[in-house]
């Protein structure tokens, strides 16, 4: 019963939760598949799993439609009671046949949900039989379920299957090629813009970046994974399982950062570390930093009046996943002079990641005002924790949109999942000018005639 090889987690939450800001492992694997262009997800699950995640992941992740393969476009075996009794393998077999016949796609990813896991369908055998029959069709099975973990773990499950089933052999390393992991489509609501910005940045220092998410040619990109010289992980914990597995299987070393860098300080540091590890010439790195910095700070001068006259050195609160929380808090504290009051981390990172996150959010800040750091997934307690505090800005999710003013007298901006009230297509806060975009969004919430 259940998952054949459960991923090791030390962060299982045992009680009931109000409105946690993530979905299940099936949803994470599904979002990841939908987030790389060319993968056709095939849900082996009840009929509602795709539509549920259209609402719960795609709409929640910046009010995005399902696109060509998500939501109701997603092939699904739509299991009901008779399959619970007699098994769903036959249904899946014919669904795979018809999907490959009908749907344009590069890679087919069967993602199992709760029902086949509970009834013991041998999905692996179905896929093996199909591969024997049609070896030319790329297909993988993501052996997960709703109860196997959260969206973040689903992301790891997806790559776990890719590594085991698609990347069989070692290939020669390609000079300058790096993979980037740790950005989870839809859960990290700025995923598309972040991927693009990071790719461009790395290209500017002469690297070939394989972002995979937010990119076309998914199959080709996935197949390139073993050829990379390095894996870059933009999260203190998400993508780490994947990186470890790639290190074991393909000897690819990895380096991790606490999140996607926002603004010149974080971006410069990111580039310097990458440059050193990947042997990029210091001149190339420093030239890029100085030209980009010059521009970003020249532009930052323009927010001076609205910042210093209207709302100078305000306290702020953050409610976000660990990647976003660290990068946003650091940017506001270290570049804008905002004072962190409380940071609530909502993605339930494992203990070892928490040490790093805590350090980033204390000694990593250029202010003596250290925030209270709380790890909390429960929407009720998150709300309670925000009461009776000093913050004037609340950078959180759309769960806080309508309570921020009346309950906390704070100006609110959605920067994290769920984001039903902000449509996020290409926007992101990544890179040198990303901080400027963040300031535009924050300050536009209160700007008016001075």
């Amino acid at each position: 019963m259940g998952i054949s090889e459960p991923l090791e987690t030390n962060n299982v939450i045992s009680g009931a939760i109000e409105a946690p800001r993530y979905s299940c492992a099936l949803a994470g694997a599904y979002s990841t598949a939908v987030g790389m262009f060319g993968v056709v997800p095939i849900l082996h699950s009840g009929a509602g799993c795709g539509i549920g995640q259209l609402f719960g992941q795609f709409y929640g992740g910046g009010q995005n439609a399902g696109g060509p393969y998500g939501g109701t476009s997603t092939p699904c075996s739509s299991l009901v009671e008779e399959h619970v009794i007699f098994g769903g393998e036959k249904k899946l077999e014919s669904l795979i046949e018809s999907t490959v016949e009908l749907v344009n796609g590069e890679l087919f990813a069967v993602i199992s949900g709760c029902v086949p896991s509970l009834i013991g369908d041998d999905v692996g055998a179905v896929i093996r039989r199909y591969k024997e029959k049609k070896p030319e069709i790329p297909i993988i099975h993501v052996n997960t379920s709703g109860f196997a973990g959260t969206s973040y773990e689903g992301y790891e499950y997806f790559f776990d299957s890719v590594i085991d089933q698609l990347l069989e052999e070692k290939v020669p390393k390609e000079k300058g090629l790096v993979n980037v992991f740790g950005i989870v489509p839809f859960q990290h609501i700025f995923w598309k813009g972040e991927a693009r910005t990071i790719k461009t940045l790395l290209e500017k220092i002469g690297l070939k970046a394989n972002l995979i998410v937010g990119e076309f040619d998914a199959l080709e990109n996935l197949k390139k994974i073993p050829a990379a010289e390095y894996n870059i992980i933009l999260s203190s914990w998400v993508g780490h399982e994947t990186a470890k597995k790639l290190e074991e299987k393909f000897d690819t070393p990895y380096i991790s950062f606490p999140g996607v860098p926002i603004g010149p300080k974080q971006t410069s540091e990111f580039l310097r570390v990458i440059g050193e590890r990947l042997d990029v010439s210091i001149d190339v790195i420093e030239d890029l930093i100085s030209s980009e910095e010059r521009r970003a700070y020249r532009f930052a001068e323009y927010v001076g009046d609205v910042l210093l006259i209207a709302r100078p050195h305000p306290y702020f609160a953050v409610v976000a996943d660990s990647n976003s929380a660290v990068s946003i808090t650091k940017y506001l504290a270290n570049e804008m002079g905002y004072l962190p009051d409380i940071v609530q981390i909502t993605d339930n990172p494992p203990e070892e990641a928490r040490e790093l996150i805590n350090e980033e959010l204390t000694t990593g800040l250029e202010t003596p005002a250290w925030p209270e750091i709380i790890y909390e997934v429960d929407a009720y307690r998150i709300r309670e924790n925000l009461k009776d505090r000093n913050f004037m800005f609340l950078l959180a999710s759309s769960l806080e949109t309508f309570i921020s003013g009346p309950e906390f007298n704070a100006i609110h901006l959605t920067v994290s999942f769920p984001s039903y009230d902000r449509i996020i297509l290409e926007r992101s806060y990544a890179g040198f000018s990303g901080g400027l975009t963040l300031m535009e969004d924050v300050m536009s919430k209160y700007a008016g005639p001075l």
Partner: protein
């Protein structure tokens, strides 16, 4: 079987048995199906003779289950209640918008200023699947009461809680004595039925069994209306306006209702439909248990149906004369506007041909929309609906007799089939819903089937007289807009291969019968 005709009580299991934990599935209760393509008259004939059977598809797309999204985005809108999903964490993620729902409706338009909606998940994990999670559910119920002191706690089941054999009733009856709120278990395991409408019945069953109180007094001026998320705030206002004019009040359930409104369902004068098959189980239950009369047809969409809808309510509330006066007054105001819209549609093509529209969504909307389109001077030679069952058979037969035959594609959000039929029929206006995949990529008009509950703009209304006019103008507007769908058709890849559009059958993947 040919020649035989089933009687009403053979077509529908009429009795509602509240001693059971839940309702029968729509498949059993009314021979529901969601796979069919052909003439409406043939569908009606097969259903009438008892030959209509659910068929299988070899290709299917995610289409919604009994829990998702039908209940997961509805129960959470009930005020002074908490919804608890006894499920893995993903089954309720569709409900994450709960704190934003209805907030865009201005308080000046009658939205309560203070309300707070709540839901929790028991977050079933690997351990629970092995050892059971009754204790976890019990704790969740207690925690819900500690936090919010609600009047009702809804417990929603899932595929997982069902398959692992959770004893929901056992847990509920054990914990109820310690809890002030009424606990309402709803059996909405996604895998229990192919038909999402089973979710409606499962919900109403629980409401009737646990929440509706014996009437303390009769409220002769109260009209029960089961409102869905596809009806906007303006639709509510229009219905309130019309009934208010003859001194009647509306009890809108379940969306955004208070628990007290459910308790009072037994005191109303009549139960009236917005959608017949959504309201059916509740209406029958209230009649059977408390003698509340009901009617299921027509819905207040379009002028003629609104007239009839009001007359039906008038008959049950002794307001016949007032209703006739109201209809007369409304007609004076709205009929000239309807005529103007009709004219504009008639002249649109300039060659005497009617504007062709492909619409509908639920089977209830099918019954309402086809005559309304005719009223507007539109032609609908084909329609889609999510499912079909015997609950609407009589009304479908009546509709065919009135309007003539038309083609019907029965499918629950099957995007490939819907894209195919839209492509093949090539109507001037294709009505779509966010859940119809790539069907919107085309050269001609595209618009939505309906707006959603929090939409408070008069432009989005569809119900009653103001809605008939607003939606008519809305459809006219849609004929002038093409750039998005055309550009997307031209510049993006189709989900489906070319051969799909070249073959003639929208139900190509219907499985051969064994």
């Amino acid at each position: 079987m040919s020649g035989t005709e089933l009687t009403e009580n053979e077509l529908i299991e009429e009795r509602i048995d509240l001693s059971r934990n839940t309702c029968p599935n729509r498949e059993q209760r009314a021979n529901g199906i969601n796979v069919w393509y052909g003439k409406a008259s043939d569908l009606a004939k097969e259903a009438r003779s008892g030959c209509l059977r659910q068929r299988e598809r070899n290709f299917q797309q995610s289409s919604g289950c009994v829990l998702n999204f039908y209940l997961s985005v509805r129960i959470g809108t009930i005020r002074d209640a908490v919804a608890i999903y006894h499920a893995p964490v993903g089954c309720s993620s569709a409900a994450l918008g709960y704190r934003e729902l209805y907030r865009h409706v201005p308080v000046e338009l009658g939205r309560p200023a203070n309300f707070d909606l709540h839901w929790m998940t028991t977050n079933l994990g690997e351990r629970d699947v092995v050892y059971g999670a009754g204790e976890k559910l019990r704790e969740a119920i207690k925690e819900a009461e500690r936090r919010y002191n609600p009047k009702a706690i809804f417990v929603l089941t899932s595929c997982t809680s069902g398959i692992i054999g959770e004893d929901i009733e056992g847990t509920v009856s054990q914990v109820q004595p310690e809890i002030k709120a009424t606990i309402v278990p709803i059996h909405c395991e996604g895998s229990r039925s192919r038909l999402v409408q089973t979710g409606y019945d499962a919900f109403w069953h629980a409401v009737l069994k646990y929440l509706v109180k014996k009437p303390e007094k009769k409220q002769k001026d109260l009209v029960n209306v089961a409102s869905m998320l596809s009806y906007t705030w303006q639709d509510r206002l229009e219905i309130k306006r019309l009934l208010g004019k003859v001194g009647l009040r509306v009890n809108f359930v379940p969306e955004f209702a208070s628990v007290e409104q459910f308790e009072q369902l037994s005191e109303a004068a009549v139960t009236a439909p917005l959608c017949p098959t959504y309201t059916d189980y509740l209406a029958r239950g209230l009649k059977q248990e408390y003698g509340i009369p009901y009617f299921l047809y027509p819905s207040p969409m379009g002028v003629a149906h609104t007239d009839e809808w009001l007359r039906e309510i008038g008959r049950h509330t002794g307001k016949e004369r007032e209703i006739e006066a109201l209809i007369k007054e409304e007609h004076e105001k709205w009929l000239p506007k309807l005529k103007a819209i009709r004219q504009e549609f008639e002249n649109f093509k300039g060659n005497g041909e009617k504007v062709e529209v492909l619409g509908a969504l639920g089977q209830g909307r099918l019954l309402a929309q086809v005559p309304y389109f005719d009223e507007l001077g539109l032609k609908s030679s084909a329609a889609m609906c999510q499912d079909f069952d015997n609950l609407i058979l009589k009304d479908l037969e009546k509709l065919i007799a009135q309007m003539g035959d038309f083609d019907i594609l029965v499918n629950t959000f099957q995007a490939a089939e819907q894209t195919h039929i839209t492509n093949q029929r090539n109507p001037d206006i294709a009505m779509t819903c966010p859940f119809q995949g790539g069907a919107f990529k085309r050269d001609k008009g595209v618009t939505r089937v309906h707006a959603l509950r929090s939409d408070a703009h008069p432009w989005s209304a569809q119900s009653g007289y103001t809605g008939a006019i607003a939606f008519g103008n809305f459809l006219l507007q849609s004929l002038k807009s093409h750039s998005y769908q055309r550009t997307m058709k031209e510049k993006t890849q189709s989900t489906y291969k070319d051969w799909w559009y070249k073959q003639p059958n929208s139900l190509y993947y219907l499985k051969a019968e064994e």
